[in-house]
Amino acid sequence: MKAIQVIWLREIRAFRGAFSCGVPVAAFLAVYGWTFVMTLRNNEGSVLQIQSIWGLSAAPWLPILSAVLTMRLFAEERATGMIDLLMSAPIRERDLVLGKFFSAMTVMAVTLGLSLLVPTLLLPALSAPLLTPASAAAIAATALILLLQASAWCAAGTMISVLFRNQAAAAVSSLIVCSALPIAVYAAILTWMPGLRAQVAWMPLLVHVYDFSTGLFSTAVIALYVAATLFFLFACSKLLALLRLRG
């Protein structure tokens, strides 16, 4: 536990001063803000609630943000050789992975918290008569699904970062795994296996966000994201152990 905390603190510090953190977070907030405004405009007169618009505007950009945030976690350590010092320290691979993963998740949570300022403070202040404020429970449910999705993306990104010394290669690979691959698989199923349509109808990730934001909880969906996160983190610690086999 102590080792996780030490690594978490180190990574938070590294994130604080890193170009690879401030710029992507600012870019995420900018594109999210634009998506939010466009979604609001396109749904004028509809029954879409404000927390749903928040979730649906933030979710598509999470894989990109997580890929950029996690790309340096292990790739940089491998490029500089610091990985040798970390691996020769008396800590388990699992602690190393968790410390780094939690640091990325902390940045994700803070970023999502900042994105929440638009629907909760900014928008009501600008157009108070037009909006009924979202309930805290609805916002919490939307935040939960966004954090669950972010944790799966961050875990995948952390795992992929172990495989590379080049941060850009790690980011591109994370993006492929986190965005392009699910979309491609989903499109392929819809195109070539129409019989499976009903089974995968729940797959689109935005549907999960919409459901949670409107109070439709599903333990299966929670289990899916938790399982994905645990799988990627487990694979990450095993990949690190594998580095000991072949350097």
């Binding site: 500089t80 040798d84 691996m87 320290a89 000991r244």
Partner: protein, 242 residues
């Protein structure tokens, strides 16, 4: 203290180390030398648990490096060949981070860091950013890191490479002090200097131990000549261990 027993290691089909066996007693400093590619760094990486040997065992005070890796690693201090450090930290911040990471109790961290800074001759530099340090001082910070938790075994890969004479002397002094409570394995090509403070010299050649000399058994000139002869000869040459 350290028992290395019939270690063998290959990268794919390429054999890097073959049947390496030696032991290091408490307080002993063993210098490992050899041509480039002889397997010195690979041996150090195996001793530091960074690589897993194909066969053989490594034990530190009876603790097997593969069976109980965390406990084994608690007993070692490792200096990597290229001395990587976090450039955004100051010397003190870096050492504090490393001491905490190695599991030192919170109450002792501050004391350990001050002791280490003093022992490594870095007392006046604790607030200097690592990115501003010269190669020599970076190496000394790495050495300080390796020494920080008073390990039982110090593994120093290419300790003297790229250091000027005063830095080498400072490193040697720090090492001499540390050897009173630790066994030391140090690699390098600077055999003349290492002979000043090591107790045994191991010459690696083509991944095998070509010779293992006890420095007290030879006149310095004779020992240097023997080592030079081994390093200059054809790969695979072997001298009977002393």
């Amino acid at each position: 203290m350290l028992d290395v027993d019939h270690i063998t290691f290959s990268y794919g089909a390429r054999r890097i180390l073959t049947d390496i066996t030696f032991d290091v007693a408490p307080g002993e400093i063993i210098a490992v030398t050899g041509r480039n590619g002889a397997g010195k760094t690979t041996l150090m990486k195996i001793l530091a648990c960074l690589l897993m040997q194909d066969a053989g065992t490594v034990r530190l005070q009876g603790i097997d490096a593969l069976r109980r890796p965390v406990k084994y690693r608690r007993g070692i201090g490792y200096l990597s060949e290229h001395s990587p450090l976090y450039s955004d930290m100051t010397v003190e911040e870096y050492l504090t981070y490393r001491v905490r990471l190695k599991g030192e109790r919170a109450l002792r961290v501050r004391r350990r860091v001050s002791e280490t800074l003093a022992a490594s001759g870095l007392s006046g530099m604790q607030d200097t950013r690592i990115r501003l340090l010269s190669h020599g001082y970076r190496k000394r910070v790495s050495l300080a890191d390796a020494l920080s938790t008073h390990p039982k075994l110090l593994l120093l890969d290419d300790l003297l490479a790229g250091l000027d004479r005063p830095q080498r002397k400072a490193c040697a002094a720090a090492l001499a002090a540390a050897s009173s409570r630790a066994s030391v394995v140090v690699t390098g090509h600077e055999i003349d200097e290492m002979l000043d403070w090591c107790t045994r010299v191991m010459v690696l050649d083509g991944g095998r131990i070509a010779a293992l000399f006890r420095t007290s058994d030879f006149e310095r000139a004779e020992l240097t000549e023997r080592i030079d002869r081994l390093l200059a000869g054809p790969p695979g040459g072997k001298e009977a261990p002393a």
